[in-house]
Subunit: 363 residues, 2 copies
């Protein structure tokens, strides 16, 4: 279960959600974890949660993980390197080019530092929200440069492997562009959609369905953290926002009319919707394949204890693996709809098995 | 199981997803359903799926439901009224003020017509995607006006009740503003985010996580249908887009800099993120209450048959009702994480029961 090089001790600087989650993950794999935070009560909390000890290490550790906000990473790195606290260093921040530039500007050692960014997180923050499985199955980008020592990279790769994450090696600027596209700009735009609901009438909000709920879910994220992320990736995010803004202006211009417009006049709108179709189809699904790989079996059930258990027991008895499941929200109604995603060849057998058991299946 | 007035026969004009789903729902409640479509093969398909008969009614029906694209509703209404095919009429289109205006313009009878819009739908279309439970627990807006005959409204309300939907009475323009806020503008903005992925490098897409997946899910919708919806609700949608565009421009101006910007300079960005927090907190959750009402119990499980069944059986054996469930996507990994949402007081007992059964619970 260990990586290619042995890692026995890790210092984690910053015990928020990410640092504490990493401590939980590595501690469970037998690595000695030392926790520290600018706020000692947070390090104490993380230690009490089982993420490691909040006592300092007595000798240099194999790796120091800098789990602080993006703008503080380089200064913390320089400080730790000055104290020779670790053989190698990495960070967990969501932006990378800015940090590599700061490392150079502060004269920190670029050889022992490997930039890192696990693509994991939660809408909640703080050590109390940490989870040891936070990184399992998630991409974890590493940004070695021409100055990176191979031994430092090997140590960081071993730690990533211990968490169950999948490492991706990228240039810092390549990483920053990628996360601007798939994370930072989408987050910001989702927040702008959610902002329209901040002052909406209750009668308007009563009509909210699963669509707007999905679109705005991430907008519950911490504005202070996102301010840091956006500030340190501003050029890449601004480029995506400009492209979205240009599309928005073109669509808005077609729709901005005192009355209804002829559908045939909406060429820019249809173009944007069509590109949206193409884009969503290109997002890799579970197991790295498109969502279309699965077939959906919708089942009606009452909202009372035991119904889901009985449903999944019936699927299990039929020997069918459920790949994904969605429970559709039904405001004010006791009846729910569960959508079971299965491999296409399993859909008809599952529907037949459930119907035979008395379930209402819509397929 | 019937509404306040008896409804024994319904004519459905247009057998796409919505019309066919309504046929399935009403047929199951004992209503005689007559199906017709401009394309007779679609009506035949809907009939074969059990949504009714594709033969014409021999006498006037209680209600004719016009399930055609928004721009065609008023003309179809005038035609049906001219043939005296029904005692009352309604439609299912996503926009309403435009239709009431067209009804007046064409000289159709406003007394027997009640505008309607069930807040239900799918990313897929056509009779083959129809489901009899599509409307269960969903809001269904009705837009009676001062000209509407009470008997027509009562008939439509009875049909809505038969589907399990919850009726909301609103003015047409009030409806159009509400759906622009919670559906039409969010859909368009989600499509613009998804459009950024249409030409993205595979390495960029590999970093896509649950956030962008949720944000862009609706962008798989049919551009031709959305063109009609947006065209007939253009003033209301344009107003929301203008507000989003103004926010986007303010945020973009703060971020548009050749290098990183000081976080403290991002005042408009933080304001938008904070309003986004407020907005997402105001969306009603299941049972009309905020999502924060539930506590989450995360459980790790292997991606093989029977695991979910065993998990839900364990929850059921503990007498605990699962309110919602999410399976987190783990590209290329055999380990999955299931998040079970339960009432707060049930979270600790559930975690204890699962742990006692050998499950890995992160709580």
């Amino acid at each position: 279960m260990t990586g290619t090089v042995p890692v026995s001790s890790v210092l984690i600087v910053g015990t928020g959600l990410m640092g504490t989650s990493l401590g939980l993950a590595l501690q469970a794999r037998g690595v000695a974890i030392y926790l520290t935070d600018r706020d000692p009560t947070l390090a104490r909390t993380a230690a009490e949660l089982g993420a490691g000890t909040d006592q300092p290490p007595t000798e240099p550790v194999d790796l120091a993980v800098i789990a602080v906000p993006p703008t503080a990473v380089a200064a913390v790195l320089a400080d730790l390197q000055g104290k020779q606290l670790a053989a190698a260093y990495t960070d967990l921040a969501s932006t990378k080019a800015h940090i590599h530039a700061e490392v150079a500007r502060l004269g920190a050692d670029p050889a022992s530092f490997v930039g890192g960014h696990p693509m994991a997180g939660r809408e909640r923050s703080g050590p109390g929200s940490a989870r040891g499985d936070l990184f399992e199955g998630r991409p974890w980008v590493l940004t070695p440069t021409g100055q990176t020592a191979p031994a430092a990279l090997a140590t960081v790769q071993a730690v990533v492997a211990l968490t169950g994450a999948t490492p991706y090696l990228m240039a810092p600027s390549e990483h920053d562009h990628a996360v601007a596209v798939v994370s930072h700009a989408p987050h910001l735009v989702a927040a702008l959609v959610a902002a329209r609901l901040a002052d909406a009438e209750p009668a308007v909000l009563a009509l909210a369905g699963p669509g707007v709920r999905d679109i705005t879910r991430v907008a519950a994220g911490d504005p202070a953290l996102w301010r840091e992320i956006l500030a340190t990736n501003s050029p890449a995010v601004a480029a995506i926002l400009a492209a979205v803004g240009a599309d928005l202006a073109a669509v808005g211009a077609e729709l901005a009319n005192p009355g209804p417009v002829p559908p045939a006049a909406l060429t820019a709108t249809v173009d944007a919707l069509t590109r949206g179709n193409r884009g969503v189809a290109r997002i890799p699904g579970k197991h790295g394949t498109p969502p279309a790989r699965y077939a959906t079996v919708p089942v009606v059930l009452d909202d009372r204890p035991g119904q889901l258990a009985a449903l999944f027991a019936a699927a299990g008895a039929a020997g069918i693996n459920i790949e994904d499941v969605r429970i559709e929200h039904s405001p004010g109604q006791p009846v729910g709809l569960v959508e079971l995603d299965v491999r296409p060849e399993a859909a008809d057998p599952l529907a037949a098995a459930l119907r035979a058991g008395g379930w209402i299946v819509h397929r």
